[in-house]
Structure formats: C-alpha cells, structure tokens
C-alpha cells in the first residue's frame, strides 16, 4: 500500500550536449497525494512525455529529486538499483491504447505483473479477479482482449496498472480513443480506484472534456510546470 504519493522537486532533463542540447524539462515541481488524481496538460512538445518517461523510470533525468511513497528514488541520480523492479512494483501504467497482451486472457493480462514479481499463479489470479470485480469486468475474465470493447479493454488496462498496488499510476492519455461517455467512465474509475487503493494518479491529457474533472491540474509549458486549481466536477 502507498505512503505519501509522489513528490517531485526541480526535475530537469536535457537531451544532447553542447550547442545541440535541448532542455526538455527545466525544473518540474509536482506533488500528488495518495488517493488524488491530478491532470497534466500542455501543448505538444511541452515536455509531457519526457516527464512521464522520467517518472516511469524509463529515461534518466538530468537533475532533481523524486520521492515515491517513503522512498527517495532519484536525487541527482537513481537511488534504486533495479529500475525494472521499481517499475513493476511501485509504478502503474495506463496507456493511450490499452496495449493488452493479445495472447493472454483478461485475467492473465492483469495477473502477469504479480506473477513477474514471483507471486504464485493462483494468488496472482485471485488478485486480478478482485480488481476486475472492482472495475466491473469480472464477467469477461476468461475473454481474450480482442473480444472486448474499447471501454472494457481500458478498464482491464487500469486493473493491470493497479494490480501490484503501486503508490503512483501514470496514465498517458487514457481517454484518447474513447467517446465522451466512456472517457468520463474511465476518469470516474480512476478516481474511485485512487480513493480505494490510496494511489496517486497522474493523468496526462489533451482531452478538453475531462480537464474540468480534476481538482488540481499541472500545466506544463516549455519544460516548466504551473499548478492550477481545477474545477473538480463530478466525482465527489
């Protein structure tokens, strides 16, 4: 279970060196509490994806500090040795497209993460089924991803992101391929899950329909974040 969400201070990322160097992040500050869902919005090229990749431990930030739960994971350098285990155990991902593994059924798509962490298959499947029930897709537990609707696939993807109970979930435009009704449903689910599992959720989005649903929004422009209080409608 999570501790104190995620805390980011002065995070910088520079691509290249010398004259060709590009500062994609120039000192990002963010804080997301457990159970909170915040929006991260900004135009193309503003640094959203770079920030997401730094938070997801798939690229190395140049400087700054990141605290995940109670653990300092980055302080001008990674403080954890196994970034793969960090991603597997402490960070959940929800992508623009569900990217479910096509040859695994719904249960095993969700149970794969705990299995990778060494949890026995039966126990991992039980955890997966519990989440699928919470997300109301338990009736499709034995279905293959290709047999699901877009909304169902996204709910399964959310379940996969949550299954290891990470302190933080990074959602990269999770509503982009969905219509308004389904997009709102996904945001509602994310809010419910954040509260239920005490998870900090960062939602990167362009979607004008869902931006008003966030209580707090981080605007990122030219590699710098600006915090703004959102309308927070609809999911109290």
């Amino acid at each position: 279970m999570s501790g104190k969400g995620i805390h980011i201070e002065g995070l910088k990322k520079r691509y290249g060196e010398g004259d060709t160097a590009v500062d994609a992040l120039k000192g990002v500050n963010m804080q997301v509490a457990p159970g909170e869902v915040v929006g991260l919005v900004g135009p193309s090229g503003s640094g959203k994806s770079t920030l997401l990749k730094c938070l997801g431990a798939v690229i190395d930030p140049t400087a700054g500090r990141m605290v995940l739960g109670d653990e300092v994971i980055f302080d001008n350098g990674w403080k954890v040795r196994d970034l793969r285990a960090l991603r597997r155990d402490k960070i959940g991902f929800v992508f623009q497209a569900p990217y479910l593994i096509p040859f695994l059924d719904v249960t095993d798509n969700v149970a794969l993460l705990p299995m990778l962490a060494g949890i026995p298959n039966g126990e991992a499947r039980a955890k997966a089924l519990e989440l699928l029930t919470a997300l109301d897709v338990q009736h499709r537990a034995r279905a293959m991803p290709s047999q699901l609707s877009g909304g169902e696939q996204q709910r399964v993807a959310i379940a996969r992101g949550l299954v290891n109970r990470p302190p933080v979930i990074l959602a990269d435009e999770p509503t982009a391929p969905l219509d308004s009704e389904r997009a709102m449903a996904v945001i509602r689910i994310l809010n419910d899950m954040a509260r239920q599992f005490e998870t900090a959720i960062i939602v990167v989005t362009h979607d004008e329909k869902i931006i008003p649903t966030f209580k707090r929004i981080y605007h990122i422009r030219d590699g710098v974040t600006h915090e703004e209080v959102g309308e927070g409608r609809g999911f109290e």
């Binding site: 990749k53 798939v58 285990a85 991603r87 990217y99 298959n121 990269d172």
Partner: protein
C-alpha cells in the same frame, strides 16, 4: 509463472502449425538426404557382406575389383587354396550392364560366380525364391528389385538366361540390383568380342607377318585361338578357416604370389573413401545448404513474428518483465517451431522414403541427431529476433 511462449503459440496456433509444416517438409528432405547417404553406405557394406569373403585377391598395384579394374588368371584360385588358412577360394567377375527385360533395359551389376558347395564365396545369400545356380551355363539369380520373375528369360549380351532364383538386398555399391550368372558365362559376356570384331581380328592377324609365318603354319591358328578365349577374372574371393586372422593369411599370399590382397576392413575403406566419397561429400554439402536454408527460414519467421509484437514487448519491458523472460519466450517459440517441423519432417520422410528408387536408410540415431540439430539451428536462428527484442526501448510504450 505462465508460459508466454506457450500462450502465444496457442493463440496463433494456425500460423505456427502451417509454418511448422512448411519447415517440416524441408526437414523431411534433409532427413531423406541423410537417409540416402546411409543407404549408399549400407549398399556398399551389404555388397561386401554378400560375397561372404574374408579376403579379396586382385591384380597387383590395383584397388580392384570395385574401385578400379583388376585382371587375374582364372586358374589362380587353385594355388590360393593351398595357402595357409584358406578354406575356400572362388573366382568372381563384376560387370555393370543393361539387362534386357521385355522392351526395357534394367541397369544391373552382373556378377559371375563359381557354382559350388554351400559357403562358396560370391554366391548370392538371402534367396527369397527359387534356387541357386546349379548349371554351368544360362542360369541366373537376380535381386528382387530388378523386377525379374522366376522362370523369366533375360538377355545378357547375346545370350538368354533363365531366372532360377530371386535374392534380397543383393545390390551393388550404387544401389543397382545384382544378377548372378555362372562365371564362364560372365567371362564371355565381359571379354568376348562380337562376330564382326572376331572377323576383323583374324584378318589383322593374317596380315601380320609376325603371326602368319610360312615356316610355322600353325602359329596363326594358335594366336587366333588364344584371342578367342578369355581366361581372366576380376578377383578371387577367399574365405578363411575359422580362427585365421585375415592379415596372417594375406601376408604369405602378398609375398609369394605377388598379388594385391585386401581384407574386409580395407575393402570397406576403399569403397567409402574412393567409390562413394564424392557422392557422400555432395550429400553432405546438400545437408549443409538445407540446414542453412532451414535456419534462415526459422530466423525470418521468428523475426517477423517478433516484429509484430514490438509494442507488446515494449509494454512487457515497461511493466518490469526481465529481458531473460522475453528472450526465453522468443527462443521457446523458435524451439516449438523446430519441434513441430521435426515431427512433420520425420513423418513425411517415413512415408515418402519407400517410393525412392534407391535404398534410403533412416537410422534412429540420425533422427535423434537431427532432432538436436534442428533444436540447435532454431535456437541460433532465434538470436536475431532476441537481439531485436532486447533493443526495444520500454519508452516506446509511452506516447510522445
């Protein structure tokens, strides 16, 4: 942990099975090629076995009678019978001929053998019908694969022979069926000239002052007679008394008779190294090429299958899957493809081998070796796809 490879194969089994069948046909060809080589070796060994000989006595300085021609006087065997350790000695001739069978010719090896008591070397073993040759002329025993029937009359050169017996697995080193005929008939078939050639020969002799001398009126007749008779055979097959070592018996013959002697081991070595060596190298090269083609096909298929899963691999890496798990998944799929291919190949080879015109011997040990070779090839072939998968950046799963 679930088997990702197994699940992927079950999910797209049709693709794997059809690819495996295609690969299997190629593996079937490879196994058959190995079987053809084994068949050639077995044919050569069977030919030696069928002679029942312990020693081959041939013309000095030659590697006859199979690898090159050899010529010996046909009465030589009498003196060999007196040599220490020799139980039987029998003349033999070998002649590759087209034997008339109805309106068609059958490619055969005609063997001239000495009629004798049981155990005489050279006589066909494994009679499956009829009897051995008992008369001195115009009888034949044929291998069953020649297609000749008991009682059938076959033509060898100018003479007709009655098939009195049929034998099994009596073939030459190149797989042709053997036809056994009496040694005298074989000598005639091998060396005697046709009538026109004889007339020509006699005219030349008559015109030659060395043969046609006024002071020696019988000389021309003697020369003509000597040229009309054939007293040569290709080899003498020697069977040794029980307990006699081949080299112990060979040495005195080599020393006192000034002839070339080969033991069974040496003769087998000549056949393998001189007679079928080039064919064996040819088949070995085919095997290498087929192995490379199989590896290239597996590599291409696995690479293509992996290429279609790049996004899934990026997601797997992003959510914390170890490289070793991903590499294992690809390698297991490649090995599974190899197993499917091998099973299909083995079955198809077993079914199509009987229709090959030559003897094809599928050795169980070759199949075992082939199975492991297929697995090794598939494992190697998967390395390209594994390398590509390991280079996939998990960041590819995140947009932007």
């Amino acid at each position: 942990m679930i088997s990702l490879a197994g699940r992927d194969i079950l999910h797209s089994w049709g693709k794997f099975v059809f690819t495996g069948v295609g690969l299997g046909l190629l593996i079937g060809v490879t196994l058959s090629m190995a079987g053809i080589y084994r068949g050639m070796v077995d044919d050569a060994k069977v030919m030696l076995d069928n002679t029942s000989a312990d020693l081959w006595v041939v013309q000095q300085g030659t590697q006859g009678p199979y690898a090159e021609s050899s010529s010996l006087y046909d009465d030589l065997y009498r003196s060999l019978l007196a040599m220490p350790g020799v139980e039987y000695a029998a003349n033999v001739t070998y002649l590759i001929m087209q034997v008339g069978h109805g309106e068609q010719d059958v490619s055969t090896m005609v063997v001239g053998v000495t009629a004798g008591k049981p155990g005489t070397p050279g006589q066909p073993r494994n009679l499956v019908a009829g009897r051995h040759i008992t008369r001195s002329h115009y009888e034949a025993v044929a291998d069953i694969t020649s297609g000749f029937q008991l009682g059938e009359r076959i033509r060898i050169r100018r003479n007709l022979y009655t098939v009195v017996g049929l034998s099994k697995r009596t073939v030459s080193y190149n797989g042709d069926p053997m036809v056994f005929i009496p040694i005298k008939d074989a000598q005639e078939a091998q060396f005697l000239k046709d009538n026109d050639a004889l007339v020509q020969q006699r005219r030349r002799n008559a015109d030659n002052p060395a043969f046609n001398r006024a002071g020696i009126p019988d000389l021309l007749a003697v020369v003509n007679a000597s040229q009309s008779a054939n007293t040569y055979v290709n080899a003498v097959l020697v069977k040794l008394k029980p307990g006699t070592l081949p080299e112990d018996a060979a040495e005195p013959i080599r020393r006192w008779k000034r002839l070339q002697i080969y033991t069974r081991t040496q003769m087998e070595s000549i056949l393998m190294d001189k007679v079928i060596a080039k064919s064996a190298r040819q088949i070995a090269l085919f095997l290498v090429i087929l192995s490379i083609v199989s590896a290239a096909i597996v590599a291409f298929i696995i690479y293509t299958l992996t290429l279609g899963k790049i996004r899934e691999i990026a997601v797997l890496k992003l959510i914390g899957t170890k490289n070793r798990t991903i590499a294992g998944m690809i390698m297991q799929q490649s090995l599974a493809l190899g197993v499917i291919g091998f099973v299909v190949g083995k079955i198809t080879a077993t079914f199509w081998v009987p229709i090959f015109p030559k003897y094809v011997l599928l050795e169980p040990l070759d199949s075992v070796a082939g199975f492991f070779a297929v697995l090794a090839i598939c494992a190697l072939a998967s390395l390209v796809a594994i390398r590509m998968a390991l280079k996939v950046d998990p960041a590819e799963a995140i947009g932007g």
